[in-house]
Each structure stands twice: as structure tokens, then as C-alpha cells.
Amino acid sequence: MNAFSRGIRNAFRNTIRTVAIVGMLSLSIGLSLSMLLAHQAIGQKITSVQKNIGNTISIAPAGIRGFDGGGTPLTSDAIKKVKSLTHITSIDQSVNDRLGSDTTNIQSSIDAGSFGRRQFRNEGGGGGDVAFGGESRQAPDLTNFTLPIPVTGSTNPLGSVSGSSDSSVTLVSGNVFDGSKDADVALMGKGIADKNSLKTGSTFAAYGTTITVSGIFDGGNTFSNNQIIMPLPTIQRLSSQSNTITSAIVHIDSAVNLGSTTNAIKNALGSTADITNDADTAKATLGSLQNIQNVSLFSLIGAAGTAAVIILLTMVMIVRERRREIGILKAIGASNVRVMLQFTVESITLTVLAAAIGIIIGSLAATPVTKLLANNSTSDTTASQTAPVGERPGPRLMGGGFRTHFNNNGAIRGIKNLRANVDASILGYGFGSAILIAAIGSTAAAGLIAKVRPSEVMRAE
């Protein structure tokens, strides 16, 4: 028996007291830890968002939005000018077209419905790229009308799926081709593949050419799954749009250079293109994340402070309760250091026990707490950001549509799906901090009492 073993034994001297202290302390430590993990997860997300949001610039031909509006598409030469600017890391280029019954042997997976038929009628009763049963353009019979199939030629095949964020497009089967090389291959949306009983390796006819299905993707919604993606040069060749680019997304090295690079592109392309960037989206998204991070930081400070106060008050209570015992120990020859050591060991024993339980609580609670913080902080942002910014998912009549803006739905979804990873080093820091606080708290409390003369303590009792 020595000061260490006495300290450990004293921690379990009163079962009810031990359970109460360990319970309170473990909850505080668990909450501190979950906030620490949430803080770390949000910090990582901010870093990730800063890398992925706020560093893209969209280029669209001036006056064109999808198949609406008017104007002249961009040319490959214009894109070459942009490529030569500084801070640009890559450019995703795409050209769009629509396949009708006269250019393909497959059918759209989306029923035209009354909305599609009315839109078709408004657009003038169809052009050469749409198929419908009647011959007369004056009064077309739209009973058997089917929507044209949107087809995109892109240097970034999966990234160009319209109506979906990059993160929500998954390759169901097959492989993704190199979008910059001319080849008669296509990625098909799950919906259109099912509608036409096509699988990876199947072929279909388009533009009078046999196209092989290299893979099937799931874009997460009906509109996205009704698309065909092919290499950029292939569509340019087959649709007779040589040297034509209908949209481009420019990736830059850092969000810091967003403004200057946007201006440089505007200067290079002049009035031929509409240039937009996602600075507002990034600002809104980062704003949400920073709010969450602040909340988690304040909660962390609060919870850690509470844990420290619990330890300190507990030790003050224990030490005062045992003033007489301290007096006895000193009367029979114990030094102040030995008395303090005994109480410090007792405090550390309680803290180690509470920290072990707190780590389990913190590990289990970290992800739910992070998600709760994220959901509460981003609900308003989601409502305000999804409608005006980015491409609207859903039924875009006649299919197709340019991927003209960065879509931030994925970013907001990413925030809501934050996961706190339980990092051993974070647990170590948390554990170490708890022990340090316990050691300081108990030593301070025991130190004050140990300085009292034993006669005073014993007389007072």
C-alpha cells in the first residue's frame, strides 16, 4: 500500500459518489470530444470545399441557355484562348445535341405527357430532330409524340450529366471513356438503357453510325437517366458541329484567384460569352460551414470548461470532506507532497474512468452531433441557394440542356452528410487534456488543504 494504491482505492471508497462523479464527468468529456471531432470534421470539410467550390468558372455562349435563347456557340479556338490564361488547371468542354427518331433507333425513357406536348407545340410543332406521328405541321397529331433524347459530347463524361451533381452520378456498369478522343462509344443513363433494353457492350444506331454502350450510369433522377454522353470530338463530328463548344467549365488553382481569372476570361472572350463563377455559392456554403464550426467550437469550450469545473469542484469537495484525514496523515508523518499525490491519483483514477466512458460516448455521438449541427445550420441556406443557382433538375422539356452553372446542391448535401471520423490522435489529445485538468484541479485543491496545520484541522473537527 502506498500513495498510488491508496489514491486508486479512495476513488472507489463511496460507490454512489464514484458513479455520480464518473457519470457527470464522462458526459462532459463525451460532449467535449464529440464537439472536438465535429470541429475537426467541419474543418476538413471547409478545406475540401475550398478546394472544390469557388474555383470553377462557367462559360456559355452569350444569349444561350440550353436550347433556349439565341446566339452563336463558342469555338474551340475561343477555348484555346482561355486555356492560355494563368491559374487555369483544366477545362471541361461539352457540345449538346438531341436525338430524334430520324437520327436514332432508340426512344426516350421519359413520356412526353401534356407538358411536353404543349412545349413542343409552343416551339412550332417540332423540327427535324423530333418524331411525331402526324405529317401536317399546321395541326400536328401529337398522340404518339416522343421526346428527343439529349446527347452531350464532353471531355468530362460523368461530370457532364445534366441535372445532377458530380457526387450523385454513379457508374452502374461498364467503363468511362476518354472524352477527348474520338470513338463511337457512349455512356447511357439507366432509364434510357432500361427503356431500350441496352446493356454495357450493346449497340444502337445514332447519326447513321453504330454506337457501342461503354457504360451505364445512374444520375439519381429521371431527367439525368434519360441522357447519352459521348466523347466531345465524336459528337462534334457526328452532329456536324465541328469546332463548336456549347459550354465549358474552367477549373482554377485556387478560389483566391477566382475574381481575377473571371475577369481575364471576360477580357479574352469579350461579348461572345456569358461568364459566371460560383463565388456566391462558395461564400454561402463556406458561411454555413463556418457557422457550424463556430457553434462546435463554443460548445467544445463550454463542455470542456464544464468538465474542468466538475473535476475541480469534485476535488475541492472530496478534499474538504477529508480534512480530518489529511490532518491525521500529516500528524503521523505524511508530507504535503505525499498528501497531494494521493489525492491527485484519486482524481486521475476518476478521470481515467470517466474519460474511457466519455471516449465511447464521444465516438458514438460525434457523427449525429455533427449532422445535427449541419442540418440546423444549412436548412436556410439550402432553401435559398438551390433555386436560383445552378441547373434545375427535373423535366427540362425536349431534353438536353447545358451544364452552364456549377450545381451546389451536392455541396449542401455534402455538408448535411458530414461524418466525424474518430481520430486516435484527437482521442489522445482529449484524454490527455482531461488527465491534465484532473491533475491540476486535484493538486490545487489538495495543496490548499495540505498547507493547513494538522492541529487546526483536527481541532475544527
Binding site: 482505492r9 500528524a331 508523518g333 492541529s455
Partner: protein, 236 residues
């Protein structure tokens, strides 16, 4: 008044005064007390409640510091001892026996006796062996040695306290009303135990008591009244 006794002095108290600050001013618990106790003698200090007996014992034990005067124990002046030296003094030179035993409640009788030896740097096996021997000597059998104080009678607890006081083979034992919480018969047994230890170990014992029948059986008796030493019985 100075009281001198015959023989080599183990304890010499000279002009000892202890005052405490109080709401009404200064309260003097001990006033100019001087006496000597020879080595190996059993001395008793008697007096009414509040006469300064316990204050005197605290000063002799180095638990408190005098306002003035000096205490010399085994040739060492307590006034000159610094804090760490006072701790060493309490650990190795003296042993305490308290009226209410003052055992550590969550330690067994054996562990309580081992405590002072731990503070004095003895190795564990030495502590265990001597503690068992001491508890056997004070009449606490094996099974009871493993009991915690709460499961021992008052007399048994005081035996453990005496064994603890003897653990580091002190030259001086200070006993504060050692029989005060015990019935007459048990009190007599405890007194006899202290007396026999005083003889066998040549240990000097200073016991504070209000029991005159016990005081009458000690080698020397000092009487305190209002903080002043009024008389001694004589040295046997």
C-alpha cells in the same frame, strides 16, 4: 513555574506560551509553561476542559507552533526545525494516540499500522512484518488485523492506534485522552498496555487525561489550570 524531574531529560519545555486570535482579542491557551520529563517515564497531564492540555500536546507533537518559548525533544529544539524537518520529527521521533483513535476508515487495521512506516521509507515487507508483530503485541488477533476500523470495537481501535503510534519505534508517545472514549475496564486495559510498552520499549509517554485515577498511576503528573502549570504530583 518550572517543574524539573530526575534523570536524563527526553522532553524539556521552557516558557511555553500559545495565544490565539479571537473575536474578543487574544486568548492565551498556554502561559509560560516549563517542565522536564526524563527518558522512559510515563507522564500524565491533567486539567479541566479548556485548561490547555490538548494545545500543549499539539505543540509537543509539532502539529502547532508556540507563540513563544521552546520545546526540546531528545536534544532537538522544535523551534529551529523547518517544515520538512518537523514532518521527519513527527514521523520518526514521536507517535500519536488520539482520543477518537483517528484511524483511516477505508484501510484495514494492518494497513493503518503500516502507514507511518511507509512515510518513514520502510520497504513493504518490513512494514507488514512489524505491523503484524505490533498488532499481536497489543492483542489484536489475525482476523481482526484485516478488518477496517468500522468493524472493530472502541478498545480494539485504540489498540490499533497504539500499534500505529509505535510503528516507527518513536522515543516519545503523545496520547490525547487515550481512554476518554472507552469504558472503565477497557480504559484500564489500554492504560496498562501503554504502561507496559513504556517499560519494555523504554519509550517516554505523555498522556493527557481528565481521569485522575489513571493519572495517579503514572510516573509523573502535571496539572494545568487556565493554561498554567500549577503543580506536579512527584516522580516515582
Amino acid at each position: 513555574m518550572t517543574v524539573a524531574t530526575k534523570g536524563q531529560a527526553m522532553l524539556t519545555v521552557t516558557n511555553l506560551t500559545r495565544s490565539f486570535a479571537s473575536g474578543d482579542g487574544l486568548v492565551t491557551a498556554l502561559k509560560d509553561v516549563s517542565f522536564e520529563i526524563p527518558e522512559g517515564k510515563f507522564a500524565s497531564i491533567v486539567g479541566r476542559s479548556g485548561s490547555g492540555k490538548s494545545t500543549l500536546l499539539s505543540l509537543l507533537g509539532g502539529l502547532d507552533k508556540p507563540t513563544s518559548g521552546n520545546i526540546i525533544v531528545d536534544g532537538k529544539s522544535l523551534a529551529q526545525l523547518r517544515d520538512h524537518a518537523l514532518i521527519a520529527y513527527r514521523c520518526s521521533t514521536i507517535g500519536f494516540v488520539f482520543q477518537n483513535y483517528n484511524l483511516i476508515p477505508n484501510l484495514t487495521a494492518l494497513e493503518n499500522v503500516m502507514l507511518p512506516m511507509e512515510f518513514n521509507g520502510h520497504v513493504p515487507h518490513e512494514r507488514a512484518a512489524r505491523s503484524k508483530q505490533l498488532l499481536d503485541q497489543v492483542g489484536l488477533d489475525g482476523a481482526k488485523q484485516q478488518r477496517k476500523p468500522g468493524r472493530l470495537s472502541g478498545g480494539e481501535q485504540q489498540r490499533v492506534a497504539i500499534a500505529r503510534a509505535l510503528a516507527n519505534k518513536p522515543k516519545l508517545i503523545l496520547a490525547d485522552e487515550p481512554t476518554g472514549n472507552l469504558d472503565e475496564q477497557t480504559g484500564k486495559m489500554i492504560f496498562d498496555l501503554l504502561h507496559s510498552l513504556s517499560r519494555s520499549e523504554n519509550t517516554t509517554i505523555v498522556a493527557v487525561t481528565h481521569d485522575l485515577s489513571i493519572a495517579g498511576r503514572t510516573d509523573v503528573t502535571f496539572r494545568l489550570s487556565d493554561g498554567q502549570l500549577v503543580t506536579d504530583k512527584s516522580t516515582k
